[in-house]
Symmetry: C2
Subunit: 199 residues, 2 copies
């Protein structure tokens, strides 16, 4: 139990260190984490994320981990490996192999405009117990759209993980109505000139 | 040594079973593997892929695993976790956070048209020893474009992995001039009406 408690704390510590050492603040409140989370991916961080998520959700008998391509796939894949639970990633462009699908829309933060979200109907069913994992919890709009896609299939939403939470964008409030645990592994309170962590 | 030999064989057996049970042949020679490799991802398969790739390349002192979003990320992430080597995924759309980059083009097989490929210059340098991993080795055109991006930075290409190889598309021939090991975990000889495996 002590070891289990440590997985989340260890992950938060490592993530904080990486953000402090390698994160860059760009305009528009964007935190660039390309060197360890979003473009280049640090395997040690991913292991810690997988263990931390398993610590929090390992007993929930999840049947699916859901994320959105592409930045969500790495942390969600690691969690899927530790949990032993299949991963489904929602696509932003429908491949010609996807014929029977659910579609939703969400605003894109780092690419501008509206992002379309597609998931094959075969991948979710009313017996599923679903954990949503994404790299960021910011405005919560993309995660809200994904949660609604999950619920529209009759599946049960069991929890939401954003690896890094920008608390000042208040996404957590937007997701409160789903009434499930919303977990983040690092909370950022402000990006005005420097990164300020919560706690 | 016997245990190590078994990782690749075990992976090939599992992959073959999944293709036989769940793969679907679509028009245009496309093998639909959405339920375990490309959209929903089987964690047991990913573990086996990670172990098999580590068996083949674990002693090469790799410094980077490179793949292309989105379908390559899951198997490449698993390999990155087992190897303990950072993963870089090449993007098909440039995010506004990527400012100094290398760009290439490759034809898209399942989406039609030309795909643009972007990698940040910070992520590759002349000291890197690189393994390229993708879900399919088919015509080899995308992998060839990625290999040329890697070499353009002065990095050393150490090997190429396509999880499933469509041998009839002759990509292996296209990649021969790189003079590195090209490994696939399942070889498909023909998709005319049914899947025919090589060996």
């Amino acid at each position: 139990m002590v070891d289990q408690m440590n997985a989340t704390e260890k992950c938060t510590q490592l993530l904080k260190k990486l953000v402090e050492e390698k994160g860059e603040i760009l305009e528009c409140g964007i935190l660039k984490v390309d060197s360890f989370l979003n473009h280049q991916i640090d395997p040690e961080l991913m292991k810690n994320i997988g263990k931390a998520i398993t610590e929090k959700f390992g007993k929930m008998e999840l049947t699916k981990v859901i994320t959105v391509e592409s930045s969500g796939i790495a942390p969600a894949m690691s969690a899927s490996l530790y949990l032993g639970t299949p991963l489904v990633f929602i696509r932003k462009k429908r491949p010609i192999t996807m014929l029977d699908y659910i579609k939703a829309e969400a605003p894109s933060h780092t690419k501008g405009g509206i992002t379309e979200l597609f998931v094959s109907k075969e991948m979710l069913n009313p017996n599923d117990k679903v954990l949503i994992i994404d790299d960021f919890l910011a405005s919560g709009k993309t995660i809200e759209a994904v949660a609604n896609m999950v619920l529209s299939t009759g599946a049960e939403l069991k929890g939401i993980v954003g690896v890094i939470e920008k608390t000042f964008e208040k996404g957590r409030k937007k997701l409160a109505h789903f009434n499930v645990p919303v977990i983040s592994l690092l909370k950022i309170h402000s990006l005005n000139g420097k990164v300020e962590f919560e706690n």
